[in-house]
Each structure stands twice: as structure tokens, then as C-alpha cells.
């Protein structure tokens, strides 16, 4: 029998984490480059007049874009190549999460934890610098579960869906995607908003890793780490 302890992070989780991180950096930076081509966002199906825009986006500086100068064609190449890696990896991660029960065991939170009082007390704990799992043997606390659930279940799939909706070659096959999102320009606006929501997640994620033992956290996302023990009291370093 295999006596090796179960790792904290499954191999599929670790592989996906780093592939996804690399893909998101490429997609975000090339996306900023694409945004520079027409810096106005609209709702509905059409939109071309800056006077009708609900948002005038800033011109993103060259250091923030991919490539590191204005080149729409090349930014689009990076974007549509990175999209394959991102979408296939997310599909693989979802299949793995459902098979190895990472989702039901570690991310889905029991209903009583969703109560405002329970969430509020976790927020207070976070402000005091206590980020312990919500029960013995759990990997994450409820705020983490909620965040990972929203990122994996809402934001990342929405990036793919809105990206597909913007493609004129996909629309003839699946016009309902564009309709459901409220039109092509709405899909483009939602694509932009979700990408910045992911950027906010990225910043918070990095801050939380820095506050909770960055070397240990990063290494366990590479090598696997040690799974929490149900018999150990919560609040120990992970």
C-alpha cells in the first residue's frame, strides 16, 4: 500500500494553477493591448461613437501590454493563442475537480457558513490576521471557498463565454451566447469587467499568500505540501 501522505494540493491542481497563471498573464497583458485599439465600452449590440460609451478606458502604457508596444495584430495573436491554453486547462481542471472531489470537499461550503453572521465573523478574523480553515481538517475558510468558487465557477467561465461571444465566427453557431449576454458590445464590456475582477483577485491572492507564509504556500503549490490533519487543531501553519 502507498504510505505516502496525501499532498495538500493534488497534482492536477498544481499543474493547472501554474499553467493558468501563465495563461492569464499573457491574456491580461495582450488584452490591455487590444483595449488600446478602441478604448470605449458600450452596452447592446452596436457601439462605435465614444459619445455613446459608458466607459472611456485609459490608454494602457506599453510596459503593461503584450507585446511591449502598440501592435494590435500581435496582441491578438497572443490573445487567441493564450485562449486555447486557458480554456482547455480550465476544462481539464473542472473535470479533475469533479472526479477527485476537490470541489465538493474543499470548495463547496455548507449552507450554515453562508449566513451573514458567520461570514462577518470570518471577515473580522481576517482583519485580525487569522486565516484559519473553517473546520478541523478543512483546507480553506469560507471566505476562501467563496472566492475560489466565484473565480472557478463564474469569472473564469465568463471570460471564455464572453470571449466566444465577441468572435464573429462563433456567433453563427451559437447566437444564443451573444443574446444571453445582451449583445456583442455588452459581451465585450463584461469581458473587460471580468478581467479586472480577476486582476483584483490576483492582487488579493498575492497579498494573502504574503501574509500567510509565502515560501511555504508557494512551495506547497509546486511540490504538493502536506494535507491538513483532521485531528490537528485548526489554526496551525499550513
Amino acid at each position: 500500500m502507498n504510505k505516502r501522505p496525501k499532498p495538500r494540493h493534488a497534482l492536477s491542481t498544481r499543474l493547472w494553477h501554474w499553467i493558468n497563471a501563465a495563461a492569464l498573464v499573457v491574456l491580461f497583458m495582450s488584452g490591455l493591448g487590444i483595449s488600446n485599439a478602441h478604448r470605449y465600452l458600450y452596452w447592446g449590440n452596436y457601439g462605435f461613437d465614444p459619445a455613446d460609451a459608458w466607459l472611456s478606458v485609459i490608454r494602457f502604457p506599453a510596459w503593461a501590454t503584450l507585446p511591449q508596444r502598440y501592435n494590435l495584430a500581435e496582441a491578438r495573436d497572443w490573445h487567441s493563442t493564450g485562449a486555447w491554453v486557458f480554456a482547455l486547462a480550465l476544462l481539464g481542471m473542472w473535470i479533475a475537480m469533479l472526479i477527485n472531489r476537490h470541489f465538493s470537499r474543499d470548495i463547496a461550503a455548507p449552507l450554515q457558513k453562508w449566513s451573514p453572521a458567520s461570514l462577518l465573523s470570518e471577515v473580522r478574523d481576517h482583519l485580525k490576521g487569522r486565516f484559519s480553515p473553517d473546520e478541523a481538517g478543512a483546507k480553506y475558510n469560507t471566505l476562501q471557498k467563496l472566492t475560489y468558487g466565484v473565480v472557478l465557477g463564474v469569472l473564469l467561465p465568463l471570460m471564455i463565454l464572453t470571449g466566444l461571444a465577441i468572435s464573429p465566427g462563433i456567433e453563427p453557431a451559437a447566437p444564443w451566447v451573444v443574446d444571453a449576454l445582451g449583445g456583442r458590445q455588452s459581451a465585450r464590456s463584461i469581458h473587460f469587467l471580468c478581467s479586472w475582477a480577476l486582476f483584483v483577485f490576483f492582487v488579493v491572492h498575492i497579498v494573502m499568500v504574503l501574509l500567510s507564509g509565502p515560501i511555504n504556500q508557494t512551495w506547497s503549490m509546486i511540490a504538493g505540501g502536506k494535507a491538513p490533519d483532521a485531528n490537528e487543531p485548526t489554526g496551525t501553519a499550513q
Partner: protein, 252 residues
């Protein structure tokens, strides 16, 4: 220990970052980079074609869904006296050639094009820059002309020749036969019930509804059936493809 590890990690990341940044700008032009990008583009096209087939239509809208105006972009006119003269007189002498790998080359006037069976469609125009406009286009289907000209079996692409010149080069575009024979691929002579305005490509403009705006060649003068795109322009299949490495398949 921790401090050293952290410092070396940061140094490592920084080295990786600067190394990557200096390489990024050359990536698209080196062989690995451009073949990777081409592969991704081909996969997108293959998936789009598999999902939508040859016939699935781009969405068509109701008259009230049209945008109040239709933005002009790229070439906004043709800078020649002949064009200005023709524009002022309703293009009486404008001719559209159908040539190349066809058995019956043709030269058609605007009234001859208008006498063919017409298709009217209200579609959305998506520019590569990101904006969209909706307008009603009328004209004969390209398939009608290709059938009338008896396109030869060795023809694989249709090239669109244009009167406008940008950065010293004549504009042109091309599509494969799937898009050439798509029911919504028309040679438009009307936008929103009127002759096409100058900025939108008067008197003739291609509509390639399942792809981005730069495929929709304006100021159209000729339709040419060819077996290969290699000897046309710089061989990449279009004006923007040649000068800026834009994607030949613009369905993304």
C-alpha cells in the same frame, strides 16, 4: 535561510522577467512564434467551421436595430480624379471584373449588378479594433457571379481587388471558397436603402459577414479566382495581412 531563499527567488523572478520581456517583442517574428500563432488561428478556424458549417448565417436584425450611423474606417475615399468624377455622377462607368480561374470572364456595370437577383440583410459589422455598427446591405450574392463566370475546379481562393490605396499599396482581400459561397457573402451596392456612401466604400463593397471588418473590401473593382495567394501582394492574402501581419482568418 528564509531571507536568502526569498532574495534568490526574487532575483530569479526578476531575471526571468527581464529575459522574457526582451524576447517577447521578437517572438511573433521568429519561426516558433509565428508557427505557434498560425496553429492557434487554424484551430480556431477549424472549430468555427465544424460548429457553424458552410451555411449557418450571421445574425440578422430588424430595421429598428440598426445603428443611427455607420462608421467609416481605414480608407475613407479613393484619391483620384476619376473616382471623384464617377462619385459625382453616380458611377456610370464603374466596372466590376470577374476574372482569374474562370471560363467566362465578365465585366459588369452597376446596373447589370442591380439586375441580378438581390439579397438584403441587416447585419452587424465588427471592426478588429472592437467597435460594431449595424446596417442594411443589398446586392447580388457572390455565388451568383462565380457560377455565371464558371469558376474552374482548381480555384481555391477569391481575391477582391480595390481602387483605394493605403500607405502606397492597393487594398485587397481574399477568402476561401467556403466564405465565397456563403449565402450572406454579397457584393453590396446599397447601405440602408441608399447607394453606399463614399466613406463606406462606394460604389461596391464586399460583405463577408462571419469575419471582421477588414475582410469586407471597399471600392471593389475586381473579383479574381486563384489557386494560391502566394503571388498576390506579399502573399499573406490581404492588405492588413501583408503590412501588419493581421490574421487572414478574421473570425476571431
Amino acid at each position: 535561510m528564509t531571507k536568502i531563499a526569498r532574495r534568490s527567488l526574487i532575483a530569479c523572478l526578476a531575471a526571468l522577467g527581464t529575459g522574457a520581456c526582451s524576447k517577447i517583442d521578437g517572438f511573433a517574428s521568429n519561426e516558433t512564434g509565428s508557427s505557434l500563432f498560425d496553429t492557434a488561428e487554424n484551430w480556431h478556424r477549424a472549430v468555427h467551421r465544424a460548429l457553424a458549417g458552410r451555411e449557418r448565417l450571421a445574425p440578422e436584425y430588424a430595421p429598428e436595430d440598426r445603428s443611427p450611423a455607420f462608421k467609416g474606417n481605414g480608407s475613407l475615399t479613393v484619391d483620384s480624379d476619376i473616382y471623384r468624377d464617377q462619385l459625382s455622377r453616380g458611377f456610370p462607368d464603374w466596372r466590376l471584373s470577374v476574372r482569374g480561374l474562370v471560363d467566362r470572364p465578365m465585366r459588369l456595370s452597376l446596373s447589370e449588378l442591380e439586375a441580378l437577383p438581390q439579397r438584403t440583410q441587416i447585419t452587424r459589422h465588427d471592426c478588429v479594433e472592437g467597435w460594431s455598427a449595424i446596417g442594411e446591405w443589398t446586392g447580388p450574392q457572390l455565388s451568383t457571379l462565380l457560377d455565371a463566370a464558371k469558376i474552374r475546379p482548381e480555384a481555391k481562393f477569391i481575391v477582391f481587388r480595390c481602387a483605394d490605396v493605403l500607405y502606397g499599396r492597393p487594398y485587397y482581400e481574399s477568402v476561401d471558397l467556403v466564405d465565397a459561397y456563403h449565402p450572406q457573402t454579397i457584393i453590396a451596392h446599397q447601405l440602408n436603402g441608399d447607394p453606399i456612401p463614399e466613406k463606406n466604400g462606394a460604389p461596391l463593397r464586399m460583405r463577408i459577414e462571419r469575419q471582421l471588418g477588414y475582410k469586407h473590401a471597399k471600392y471593389l473593382t475586381a473579383i479574381e479566382a486563384v489557386a494560391s495567394l502566394d503571388d498576390i501582394g506579399d502573399g499573406k492574402g490581404g492588405f492588413w495581412e501583408d503590412i501588419g501581419d493581421y490574421q487572414w482568418y478574421a473570425g476571431i
